[in-house]
Symmetry: C2
Subunit: 329 residues, 2 copies
């Protein structure tokens, strides 16, 4: 042991930029969050305002960790972020411009190297590094929230495609004449398999069927995924059927994804996944009915065990470790 | 230049085991076929008979190449072959058993290291190494023959999945209540987008419509993809509609595949791809209609330029170079 040389402990900055809140944390190699903060993303203001605030918060954060820790890089999750150019591309709900130079701004301002990708990819990295996908090298995560996000891991690596835009399973087609999607297409998976999707299904069922339902007392705007889940657990026929229908469609598309990737597991996260077996059972049943014989009995569908305030930051930290960890940079 | 040391030129054995014929060739680093032979696969006989014959043919083959050439390994393409265990798994139309130890047999008998994968994967490797996909790192090949095969390349590497069984796009679902597939499922892509699939479409159209068609004089067994293509070029309404319908379905599924992989190109091969624009134009039109906005204008659909007797052998050679080329083994 050398007395003259002081040992340093490498740590990373994990940053999760959401539509309303940004969370930042300093994370060590084991996934321990050494310090943490959150603040408004200021999406309605100009981008430099965000950067200025980030710089101030980062200084507070690193003042709060042991002296021997050295931040070796930053991982960032952000909407519509592209790992290839380090930018957010036309992010909705942000007044930051069409091409937001996130990586170069962070590198300049904080003086550390950085990588950025979208939330679903971070979810996948977080699950692989600290979560339910630990030890897996081929799996797909799907977040069923307001929309539908997906992150695909092949042979231990995220699939980015030739331009960084791979992994948009929310826009695969369920029905060429199906529901209109925000993206302009018809019948995208996210118009069915998401919180918004199951709300649409509930309203369709209330229109089609004549059965009584507690959900008939709610407006579309007021209805939440949790209300539908609670109603289903209470035996409400519309709510139960809505989960079955969602699972049928999701299971069919998971069987398709198996035929592309032959992964070990599919991991469901996001608001709708909190419904647990209500979503999982019809999804697995439908998947098994549609699965090509080569895959039968091999595919797991799991509900993500995460759901703490640190999730996004940990996924971002995993991205930083992947790129800037020992021997990587 | 050293006079005492004789230089050797590394070459590989490429082997393409088909349902009826096996083709073998010695291939150099540039893709030149130095010697070539083909013989019956003897699929109806026991596996050792095939191996015995292969050994004899291989000896003739290497007697025929320049003395300084040294075979450093073999690449093999075979039906239902799995690169992970080196076996053919339950190959149809072969009396070779449920798990055929192809790699170990070749390594023992010929005394060279070997790798095996299925035909569609070799098609992808061949296109990447010697063909239309040269320089591409993210693309998908699809063979529309009797069935539908696919090989997927992500970041320059074939996607095998956790068990070697990835890339079965022929069995993604077009319609949950669609045509019965050989695999036992309903509505698989290969029941529509293949030579057999377009024959089924022609017969469906002849049943549904009352228009005259030259194709009405053929039995299902006699009808070929070429006849349908010729009829379409002659303006036959059933044949033209059949290609449009096939392209609509294929284009929709290619748009889905774009959302998973964001590749640079899709490459069509196999018997039906020989129809060229008859298949390509409706496919591209349908793809563009269904493509998520992030991919619009970025996706190429190409018809494979290959079609020589060497194709399978070259793809197999590419597999060998990938695994046993300089610095690889």
């Amino acid at each position: 042991m050398s007395l003259s040389k002081k040992a340093t402990t490498p740590v990373v900055l994990g940053m999760d930029i959401g539509g309303t809140q940004t969370k930042i944390g300093i994370v060590d190699t084991t996934g321990k969050v050494l310090s943490f903060d959150s603040f408004s993303s200021l999406g309605d203001q100009a981008f430099p305002n965000f950067v200025q605030q980030l710089q101030a918060k980062y200084q507070l954060l690193i003042a709060d960790i042991p002296k021997e820790c050295k931040v070796i890089g930053a991982g960032i999750g952000a909407p519509n972020a592209n790992i290839f150019n380090g930018c957010m591309e036309k992010p909705h709900n942000f007044n930051w411009g069409d091409l937001v130079p996130l990586v170069s701004s962070v590198e300049e301002t904080l003086g550390i190297q950085a990588k950025v990708t979208n939330d679903a990819n971070l979810f996948a990295l977080g699950e692989m590094t600290y979560g339910i996908a630990k030890g897996l090298k081929n799996f797909i995560v799907m977040t069923l929230g307001t929309g539908f996000g997906s992150g695909i891991v092949v042979d231990g690596k995220l699939v980015f495609g030739h331009d960084g835009m791979a992994g948009e399973m929310g826009h695969i087609n369920v029905n060429p004449n199906g529901r209109l999607c925000n993206c302009g297409l018809k019948g995208c998976l996210e118009t069915y398999a998401s919180v918004t999707g199951i709300k649409r299904t509930v309203f369709k069922l209330m229109a089609d069927l004549q059965v009584a339902s507690s959900l008939r007392s709610h407006s579309f705007e007021d209805l939440t995924g949790l209300m539908i889940a609670d109603a289903a657990l209470d035996g409400d026929p519309i709510a139960k059927r809505a989960f079955e229908y969602t699972g049928e469609i999701l299971g069919t598309k998971i069987a398709d994804a198996a035929a592309y990737f032959s992964p070990e597991a599919f991991i469901l996260g996001g608001g709708l996944a909190k419904a647990g077996d209500l979503l999982l059972l019809p999804t697995v049943k439908s998947m098994n009915e549609r699965l090509f014989k080569a895959y039968k009995g091999k595919m797991k569908v799991l509900i993500s065990g995460t759901g703490t305030k640190y999730d996004g930051v940990l996924g971002a930290a995993a991205l930083a470790w992947e790129h800037f960890g020992e021997g990587k940079s």
